[in-house]
Each structure stands twice: as C-alpha cells, then as structure tokens.
Subunit: 200 residues, 2 copies
DNA sequence: GTACATCTGTAATAAGTGCTACGGAATACA
DNA sequence: TGTATTCCGTAGCACTTATTACAGATGTAC
C-alpha cells in the first residue's frame, strides 16, 4: 500500500504543502509530544490514513515538519553568515534573530527549543534531532569565524570555538526571552546591549 | 477520603521526602508531559493510590516537585544576589549557574526549560508555571540592580530592566549550551567571555 | 483487646494514544 | 467503457493515559 508516487489511479486531493505547513506550525507550538495525531488530523484537515499515506508515521511527519521549518523559517541564520564582513555577520545574526522571533503568525520561540527538551523515552529521537540541529548551527557559525580569522578580520588568538558558544548562547537566550513574553523593542535593546559589549 | 494529616490510624509507611525527590528528578529530566504516572510510581516506589493520597493529582505533584526544586537546587541564584557588591553578584550569578548546571546527579539543564516549553493544552498550566518562575527570577535580579543603582554602585543611566533581560538571557543561554552537551570547562570559558565583555 | 482511622495494593475505570484494515469512491490510462 | 490503481473516510485496533473503587492490612487511641 505504498503511495505518494502513483503514476495512475486517483490523485491526491489535498494541498500537501499546506498540510505540512499546518503540521509544522502545530509541532512548533506544542512540541513533538504535546501534539497528538488527533490534533494533527484536525489542523491539517486530513484523515489519519491520508496523513500516514502521504507523510509516514508521527516521527517521519515531525522530521518533514522540521525540514520545512529549516528551509522556510530558519534561513535567517544562514543568510546572516553570508554577510561579507564579520561585523555584518554578527549584526545580522542578532538583528535577524530578533526579527524572526517577533514575526507574527508563528510561536514566539525557536522550534528547536519548543520541539522537545525534556521528554519521554519514546520522544527521545525528536529531542535528539533538535539538539543535533542546534549543534549544526554552531558548526556553521564556527566555520564562518574561522574564515574571518584566515582573512585577518578576526583576531586569531581568540578561540573560535569559545566565541561560537558565546554567540550561540546569546541567540538561544533571546529565544527564551521571547518565550517569556519580551516585546520586539525589548529584544532589540537586549541584542543591542550584547553587540555593544562585544565592541560593535 | 482526604488524607495526609491523620491524627490516628495507620501512619504513612514511606519516606515522603525521598519520594518527592525522585518525582522531582524525573520531571526535571522528562518534563511534565514526558513523565507518566506509571513512570512516577516506579521511580517513587509507590502505588498510584499512595501518590494520590500523599501528593494529589499529577499537576499538584508537579507543583510540589517544582517547589522542592526551587528550594533545594535553585537557591544558587538567590545566594548570588546576596553578594555585597554588584560585581560579586554578577560574578556569582555566572559562576553558580555553571556550577549548578554541571553538578552530577541531575539533568544538565534548568528545570524551567526542560519542564515544559512546547506542550499540549492540557499541560499548559505546567508550562505557564515554568514561565512564571523564569519571570520571577528576573524580578529578583532587577530589584538587586535597582538597589545597586540607589547605592551608587551601578550607573543610573543604564536601564535596569534592559540589563536584567540581558543577564537573564545569558544565564538561560548557558543552560541551553549545557543541554547541548557543553562541558564544564566550555561553559566556564563562555561565562568568562560574557563577564569580560561586561567589563569584569 | 476493641474500635476506628488511615494507608496499601490490586484491579478496574473511561478516555486518549498512535496506527491500521477495510470498503467504497474517484481518477488515469487503455 | 473497462480496468487498474490510488485515495478517502470510517471504524476499530491494541495499548497507554490519569485516576479511582474497593478490600484488606496496619497502625493509633482507648
């Protein structure tokens, strides 16, 4: 009963993209464990069998939702790292994060933090996926810093590893602040304070 | 069938303190939603009826566990605020946090972050409690900063509100870093970097 | 020892969990 | 039109969830 690539037969009658978007938003808000398949059927407007046929089981659906999140919402970090100067990178990292967290239409915090922190052993794979993504983000930052060191833009006697963790720590902190209910202006001032203390 | 304060009759036959400690550690690791009553009966070594008689339902037990957590594990923040000088306060805030996060015998992150971020509507009260505690922590920091401003130790033209959020942001960030798997030495260097950037 | 109050363990409750079997509806291709 | 193939909706699966009813055990107070 494999499906999804039928050459013939009845074609799918719903918007797969829209359904996945709805699933992503729900997972984002309630986390893996806090989102039930019943919740998903309602939010996606689909029957269980349609979901399972199109996306697989709950874990697979979560992975697809996360993938969509990374591709459509979390690109602000990648974009920031593409800034030509290091100062531009760091400024963009903070500015984009604040802009992202305060964009209406989705939860006020990062999906990798709301998705699954403390959870049951059944949900451990989802939690580990979230952790892995956070670490990957750090890898990208670290590589950008190394590049800046090679080009002479960033002092070589500063440990890129440590500075990466320091940056990552503050970006995650902004997300928690946002979850706490901080306003856009408040987040912006916090980010400015961080930048000023770093010398920007 | 109310219980717990029986003047006569059979007395409780288990260590209530030890049972609550076990519950607290499990909630800390798995969060409110990721911890089932079945998990709790096993970890606490009690039957469901004993748990319900002694602590109430799951929400009540969670509240008691959080209370215990705050009283027994999260005092490091309160202690830090009692330092006589502002520099002492801020240094202690970071040092104690790192020490706390890396203490063996409990999860590597803060309970208010692992307890419930994204969750179902049923678990929303637990999530709101976690948020409330995080905000209360900020209130305490802010008041300490105001006190330092009055005594002239802290510049009055700095917005205490903003600086509080900035500090809180970094402490939460350390907790996330710890959850990511950062070592004690790595956390310590990150904290040192933060302190240095602030001028300490 | 007797009466009473409470606890303990088992077993069961109703509702919710993720997931699937199945029959019928709908479409593509000949 | 006929046939193959796929999708859709319902209804149900076995299991887990939090919670409680009940019966017997175990203690205190007299």
């Amino acid at each position: 009963m494999k499906t999804g690539a039928g050459k013939t037969g009845r074609p799918i009658s719903f918007d797969k993209d829209a359904a996945l978007e709805a699933a992503m938003l729900l997972f984002w808000e309630r986390g893996f464990e806090g989102t039930s398949m019943a919740d998903l059927t309602q939010a996606m407007g689909l029957n269980p069998s349609s979901i399972y046929a199109a996306f697989g089981d709950k874990h697979a659906l979560f992975q697809l939702a996360v993938k969509r999140y990374l591709a459509s919402r979390a690109q602000y970090a990648v974009k920031a790292l593409e800034e030509p100067t290091l100062e531009g990178v760091i400024r963009a990292l903070f500015d984009n994060t604040v802009a992202f967290l305060t964009t209406p239409g989705h939860p006020p915090t990062c999906m990798t933090l709301a998705g699954a922190m403390g959870c049951s052993v059944d949900a451990a794979p989802a939690r580990d996926l979230m952790t892995e993504i956070r670490r990957q983000n750090e890898v990208a930052i670290r590589e950008r810093l190394r590049r800046a060191q090679k080009s002479g833009e960033f002092a070589k006697d500063i440990n890129a590893d440590d500075f990466t963790r320091y940056l990552s720590l503050m970006l995650a902190g902004l997300s928690i602040q946002s979850a706490n209910g901080a306003t856009k202006a408040e987040l912006r001032r916090a980010a400015q304070m961080a930048l000023r203390h770093m010398g920007y």
